[in-house]
Symmetry: C2
Amino acid sequence: MSEHIYVVDDDHDLRESIAEILENNHYQVSSFENAESALQASKLVVPSLVIVDNMMPGMGGMAFIPLLKKEYPNVKIIMITAFSTVDNAVAAMKSGADDYIAKPFKRDELLVAVRRSLEELKFEKQMIGPGMDEALSCLSNQIRRDILLALSQKGDMRFMDITRHLEISDHTKVNFHLKNLKTNNLVSQKRDKFYRLTPQGEKIVDGLALLSNKISH
Amino acid sequence: MSEHIYVVDDDHDLRESIAEILENNHYQVSSFENAESALQASKLVVPSLVIVDNMMPGMGGMAFIPLLKKEYPNVKIIMITAFSTVDNAVAAMKSGADDYIAKPFKRDELLVAVRRSLEELKFEKQMIGPGMDEALSCLSNQIRRDILLALSQKGDMRFMDITRHLEISDHTKVNFHLKNLKTNNLVSQKRDKFYRLTPQGEKIVDGLALLSNKISH
DNA sequence: GCTTTCTGTGAAGTGGAATTCACAAGGCTG
DNA sequence: CAGCCTTGTGAATTCCACTTCACAGAAAGC
């Protein structure tokens, strides 16, 4: 999944030069010479990152940013400021930019800023924390929930103990889900064939109880 | 899903008469003339409920119950006691029976006890609380989680707001998950086309945050 | 008015999850 | 040792959540 980047600048040469640098680094780039057309295009293809010049005829970067952020709060924005002053930088960040680079800038300055912004984006996308996905996908199945519950209540259990406790006739079905839980590190198996909750698994069971309380009343 | 009931009694006539009453009420019944064979059979087909006579040659009901409960704690047991005395009743409950009926008993007494026990069973099986199942099945999907999160952060949103916010190109996909959330009562739609979290949905989001914290560290 | 965007339905297809089936290597027990 | 129970594996199949596609009325913009 290659990242899509918008470059918005009224200066044709600068715009093309930025686009070329980015394309050489295997980003997918779309260029616009004013904010209005960039906004319109964003309705068709939402970018991951927008690089926008502060000073432009018509809508400037400062006006453009809030409009874009309102529609797509997840889009990262790097502003290009004409002169490197503290005031400029502060104003840029205040209007919602995530980073800025001052003209004139070097190739590497640009790339560093771009990479950092995209990294932040990737990080934020997770949002709900690592491990959450696997956890919830395990919990979406009744049998797996029952296994976790049983292990939590009864402590370590052997394979057939679990199977009978759940009153499931086909032991291979239990095996399937048990393997799944092992893969996701919620259940571990000791050398003596006993299954037990991992610390992670215990946390999940606790959390489940919390959720359950919260919902039921 | 018809319930499976074991009838364990050495008295052939009584056994058959109980079995007939239950079968006429659309329960699935297996009869045994002693505790040993019932135990053995339980390894093949685990019953939901066992009706067992206290006084039998060989293993009596009092000895039988702990053995069965140990293997299958979820099985409900109704004991038949010969004489209706407080002592008998207390002893029966102590050994693990869930209910008892005193000989002689009427058809309806039996049925009431059976129905009550099975109701209790159904109740206990839920364990994790009503609403939990739907909740978790919703949460198992990333898009649905994102929708809940978006609504939680931004308040009411319209259909296309959500679609664009999630940066999903196919709006029908969003629609699908939104409908799912509506069906499960986590999201409601107002007359003015705005979607919003239901109280239930808000609880889920809160709970999710808790879970997330718990897991991540 | 016409066109585009919004909001949605329903059918058909796809892929992965879950189930079932066939089989088998230890281990324990009589 | 013969025979069961335990604890698996892997392939075949079924099932279902999700996606995609084709279409369409309502609302909004020009």
